[in-house]
């Protein structure tokens, strides 16, 4: 059993990064995720593992520092919250185009614009559909507990390096700010060897020069690069989907929700079952790749699905695509930092799905 601690979600991310052998963090403070950089600073990472920590002049600079460090094969990360993640989109597109592994954490707050600092899940489209320009995908992990805030850091780095693709942890202010018991994994040493087939650490006599770029001016070359990227995304869809099913075995009605919404729905499932209503919860842990097949399968079992999000309805579009008209899919959500109660969510299930 690993070390047990009571930690905030943001702190768990920071501690997990150190333990995962992260080489560098570049970031810019923004509520509600500043605890990540503050925790790393207090830990004096340069002494503890040699991990580089730098507060950049902007989110834009931070993501480009990530681009540079990732180009050398280092395990690097940045974190921010919604408005800051918007600023990083240019860099994220370049990183995806240049096929660099890295971790980007978004502790989502309400928007659009400067919005609010309260929790939200309104960045789903941005995270899963590209966000920046061009045809690209991030690996998107959605933690629903402080434990997963820790575990997914390691998973995100593993997947990022496996696919040479940026990975995002899409959390929100609720998971970031709450404290729970977390079992920390044992520290992994930082990498000392780097894949010389692509990293830029200085051209040695025994290999050709390596170039990190997303520029392909020739259309044919650009199209080929896009096709290669798509192959990776298809492979992710086939191999990396992760979900959790809660009380789904005999469920007649299904909640689909991720992250903090899933926690609320989990309670709603208990409340419903106390009333004799057989509900279940399907919780995507990966938002890209999306659990299309798993949801399609559940559509053959349950009578209706309620998708619950802290937004005006984003993931529900992917749920509807998965269900493909087979059964009724409705949406319930609150926005702007408002958080529905389990009772509210159950009421919506009754009105929109069971009674409707």
């Amino acid at each position: 059993m690993g070390e047990l601690r009571l930690m905030k979600g943001n702190e768990a991310i920071a501690e997990a990064a150190i333990r995962a052998g992260c080489d560098a963090y570049f970031g810019y403070p923004i509520t509600p995720q500043s605890e990540i950089i503050e925790y790393l600073a207090a830990e004096e990472t340069h002494k503890r593992t040699g991990m580089v920590l730098l507060q950049a002049e902007s989110e834009i600079a931070a993501i480009n520092m990530v681009y540079g460090a990732a180009s050398t094969g280092k395990k690097v990360m940045t974190s921010s919250s919604s408005p800051g993640i918007s600023l990083k989109q240019e860099g994220i597109s370049y990183i995806a185009g240049a096929e660099l592994p890295c971790l980007i954490v978004n502790v989502v707050r309400g928007g659009p614009g400067l919005g609010t600092i309260q929790p939200s899940q309104a960045d789903y489209f941005q995270a899963t559909k590209g966000g920046g320009h061009g045809d690209y995908r991030l690996i998107v992990l959605a933690p629903a507990s402080v434990q997963e805030m820790s575990d997914f850091v390691k998973l995100a780095f593993d997947l990022a390096f496996k696919y040479r693709n940026p990975a995002m942890i899409l959390s929100d202010g609720m998971i970031g700010q709450m404290m729970e018991k977390v079992e920390l994994f044992d520290p992994v040493p930082r990498n000392t060897e780097f894949d010389q087939s692509w990293v830029i650490t200085g051209k040695t006599a025994d290999r050709e020069r390596n170039i990190i770029t997303s520029l392909h001016l020739e259309s044919a070359s650009m199209e080929k690069h896009n096709q290669e990227l798509q192959k990776k995304y298809i492979q992710m869809q086939e191999q990396e989907v992760r979900i959790e099913k809660i009380q789904c075995e005999d469920a007649e009605f299904l909640f689909v929700a991720y992250g903090s919404s899933a926690r609320i729905c989990q309670k709603a499932v208990d409340l419903a079952r106390a009333e004799g209503i057989k509900t279940g919860l399907l919780r995507p842990q990966t938002l890209f790749p999306f659990p299309t097949k798993e949801i399609e399968k559940m559509a053959g079992q349950v009578k209706g699905i309620l998708t619950v999000e802290l937004s005006m309805g984003q993931m529900v579009e992917d749920v509807r695509l998965a269900v493909n008209g087979k059964i009724k899919v409705e949406f319930y959500g609150r926005a702007g930092g408002m958080i529905p109660t389990p009772e509210e969510v159950l009421k919506a299930m009754k009105q929109k799905i069971i009674g409707g």
């Binding site: 609010t116 600092i117 202010g173 709450m178 989990q266 208990d270 109660t341 389990p342």
Partner: protein
Amino acid sequence: MNEEIIIAGFGGQGVLSMGKILAYSGMMQNMEVSWMPSYGPEMRGGTANVTVILSDSRISSPILNVYDTAIILNQQSLDKFEEKVKPGGLLLYDTNGITRHPKRTDIKIYQVEAAAEAAKMATTKTFNMIVLGGYLKLKPIIDFEDIKNGLKKSLPKRHHHLIPLNIDALERGMKIVKALNN
């Protein structure tokens, strides 16, 4: 065992740290715990509240609409949370500054004169520990030893010399807590 608690008062009354000590102590007893604060502008001078859940099984929603226990430290919080206590649940409040007292009859209501008691001690910062003592007297869900360990865990080392003072405050709270309606 599943105990869902809201602690609410002014920022600076030690609301969040009281919740933290409860959560740490619960963890010492191998419980599942969650601590969900209100955060943001409310932290600065306004009202502050924290939802603490202690449970034998996996915790679902860390944010709730109704609570087993409400620990209330100012009027705004009393106005807001009195109606959110589950029937048969517990409401514990400090009477200091309260002009409109709780009226419900389907819940158990207790008072702890923590502010007055804290004024008798070396520092009034012990206020939240007196309240917590009162709560633990009413719901002894955590061993006193584990509370001491929780204190140790949640206080930075440089404040460890204050632990005896905090334990004194907890014990005083246990003594002065009194029932209002039962």
